[in-house]
């Protein structure tokens, strides 16, 4: 049973001529979830989002939102709204008119649509700038306008296409906190496409990792991070070493690696890099077969037994932290 306003993708496929951009993917987004679609560029995550939004035709399969097949409906009839990567604000309209645009298209009269636009602007704390034009706004302000414009249609699902990529790192962290706050307040689903795994970890309840037009792994954020199913997911999520051992590939969180004296651990390695990261030190060692392993240790621990490049060390880990992954 699909609950109302769950979004389900069924064997969703996108083909551009011979190339398959999205290859028969299936997933259910529960209502009210903050989901991040994560993957390298060209993995099909944006095509998937654009198909859900209705800006890209579906080649095969369907999109079901709240028990309704929306695969072939126009964007505005789907119950979704999209926030574009470069915000796509109308440069000739004021902030207020930008936000009220969809109401104007629906033929709602001026006082009513301005009232509702002002409410939305209050939600994103932009009331003071209602009469400005987009080119008089900063990046963060433009983003909020775009958000208000998308939310005014009261969508069941908000689709965000790399919404933070145009912002500087400091603003990015502030805006992502704001996105999370809004999502919690509104209680609607957010589907957020990004290629930054830190962004996904910080925001998402649920992560969908895509690669080569397929979903590599999907699940709650901690599950995806802690128990990656494939070497690709482990590498892409970061913070993991993927080791090819005789018994198969295993993923090991680099902060669970224990540095020991040579021959005292499970494998030996030669230190090739020491990187100070503030609270931690990242020690990179080359082990048998030329594989590189990173051990992330608290800086206090490192300072007790400092290592130099070229030195041989042992590396140990507990069985519980080793996750077999498929190559």
């Amino acid at each position: 049973m699909t609950r109302n306003s769950d979004l389900e993708l069924i064997a969703l496929t996108k083909r551009y001529g011979e190339t398959v951009a999205v290859d028969s993917i299936a997933h259910r987004f529960k209502a009210g979830v903050y989901a991040c679609m994560l993957g390298p560029s060209g993995c099909g995550k944006s095509s998937t989002l654009r198909m859900i939004a209705g800006h890209e035709t579906v080649s095969d399969g369907s999109i079901v939102l709240g028990r309704r097949d929306v695969s072939h409906l126009p964007p505005a009839k789907r119950g979704t709204a999209m926030m574009f990567q470069n915000y796509a604000l109308f440069p000739h309209l004021t902030v207020q008119d930008n936000v009220a645009f969809s109401l104007r298209m629906a033929g709602i009269d001026k006082p009513e649509r301005h009232k509702r636009a002002d409410e939305m602007l209050e939600l994103v704390e932009l009331t003071a700038l209602a009469q400005r034009k987009p080119d008089q706004l900063s990046g963060g302000q433009k983003q909020r306008v775009a958000l208000a414009r998308a939310l005014i249609t009261r969508p069941q699902v908000l689709l965000l296409d790399e919404p933070l990529s145009a912002l500087d790192p400091f603003l990015r962290i502030r805006m992502r906190a704001e996105l999370k706050r809004l999502q919690r307040e509104l209680g609607i689903s957010f589907i957020h496409v990004t290629h930054g795994q830190d962004e996904a970890l910080a925001l998402a309840d649920e992560i969908i990792v895509m690669n080569n037009a397929k979903i590599e792994q999907a699940g709650p954020v901690r599950e995806v991070f802690n128990t990656p199913k494939t070497a690709f997911v482990a590498r892409f999520m970061g913070g993991h070493n993927v080791l090819n051992l005789p018994q198969g590939h295993i993923a090991l969180r680099s902060d669970e690696m224990i540095v020991t004296a040579p021959s005292a651990g499970r494998i030996d390695g030669r230190v090739v890099g020491v990187e100070y990261q503030g609270t931690h030190v990242a020690l990179t060692a080359e082990v048998a077969g030329g594989q590189e392993v990173t051990a992330l240790m608290p800086d206090a621990d490192y300072l007790k037994t400092p290592k130099d490049p070229g030195e041989v060390i042992g590396l140990h880990w507990d069985d519980r932290v080793a996750h077999p992954v498929s190559a």
Partner: protein
């Protein structure tokens, strides 16, 4: 200080060219417009005879009205056609290769001279021309249409034919700069194709429309040869008034008409610029 001098030197060549070939002739025309003339001579003076005659003659008003009428009708038609062509090129043709190819096709008529393009209408529109004989053979009409050639119709037809591209190019340029995601954003907001056109595309094309408008109105208002050929000398506009005066060596009178025309065109452009601030939009 030295920076300023460099800037002046850099601007000097263009300034000198404009001064010598634009400002000086216009000043000359203004001066001559106050001169006097007899049947066989012109003499330097400062008198308002030419202007008095110009504003006292009912012909002047008819001819100016005609000129504005041609400009307005031509503008409306070139805008309609130009916008449609530009829209097709910018939004319906997806690949850049085809856009460039089709755009070049639009410019092909310009490989021949204005006059030849104009004259080639004559055998087509004439009394026993292609258009009339085809219509008669189809049974649409019984007798040849007289208004096809040497009429306002043929004058405006030629103007539209000659100047539509001047509308297409700036509008196409404006349209190409519209971010595709704006169209999607409009769609996302529930806009129909027509609403997108009215609320997004046309407002964003305003600078292009305005530049095209200035091109077409100035070209049509300054023209004399098209009106002469296509109307078989049966219609007049201000350009013809001036050219007639010149052929009669009535330079002072021609200058006065030219000054009035220049002022009229400047007023029209001034009004247009009040509607859209081009500098801001470029």
């Amino acid at each position: 200080m030295t920076k300023q001098i460099t800037a002046w030197i850099q601007a000097a060549p263009m300034a000198l060219v404009l001064l010598a070939f634009l400002v000086a002739p216009i000043v000359m025309i203004v001066i001559v417009s106050f001169w006097g003339a007899t049947e066989y001579s012109i003499y330097p003076a400062f008198q308002f005879d030419n202007y008095q005659f110009l504003f006292g003659s009912p012909v002047t008003y008819t001819v100016f009205f005609n000129t504005l009428k041609y400009a307005l009708i031509t503008w409306a038609l070139t805008l309609g056609i130009g916008f449609t062509v530009a829209y097709f090129l910018a939004f319906e043709v997806r690949s850049l290769k085809w856009q460039i190819a089709l755009f070049l096709i639009c410019t092909i008529p310009f490989w021949t001279s204005n006059i030849i393009r104009m004259i080639s209408w004559i055998p087509f529109l004439g009394r026993n021309g292609l258009a009339n004989s085809t219509l008669i053979s189809w049974g649409v009409i019984d007798a040849p249409l007289e208004w096809l050639l040497f009429s306002d119709f043929s004058v405006i037809l030629a103007f539209v034919h000659l100047y539509t591209l001047f509308m297409v190019v700036p509008i196409f340029n404006s349209m190409m700069r519209i971010d595709g995601s704006l169209i999607e954003a409009a769609k996302d907001g529930g806009a129909t194709a027509w609403q997108t056109l009215c609320h997004v595309i046309i407002p964003l094309c305003k600078p292009g429309i305005m530049i095209g408008t200035i091109f077409v109105t100035t070209l049509v208002m300054g023209d004399f040869i098209t009106v002469r050929f296509m109307s078989g000398s049966q219609r007049a506009n201000v350009g013809r008034l001036i050219s007639n005066d010149i052929s009669l060596l009535q330079y002072p009178s021609a200058s006065a008409t030219a000054v009035v025309l220049l002022v009229t065109v400047l007023i029209v452009i001034g009004l247009l610029l009040r509607l859209v601030d081009i500098r801001k939009e470029l």
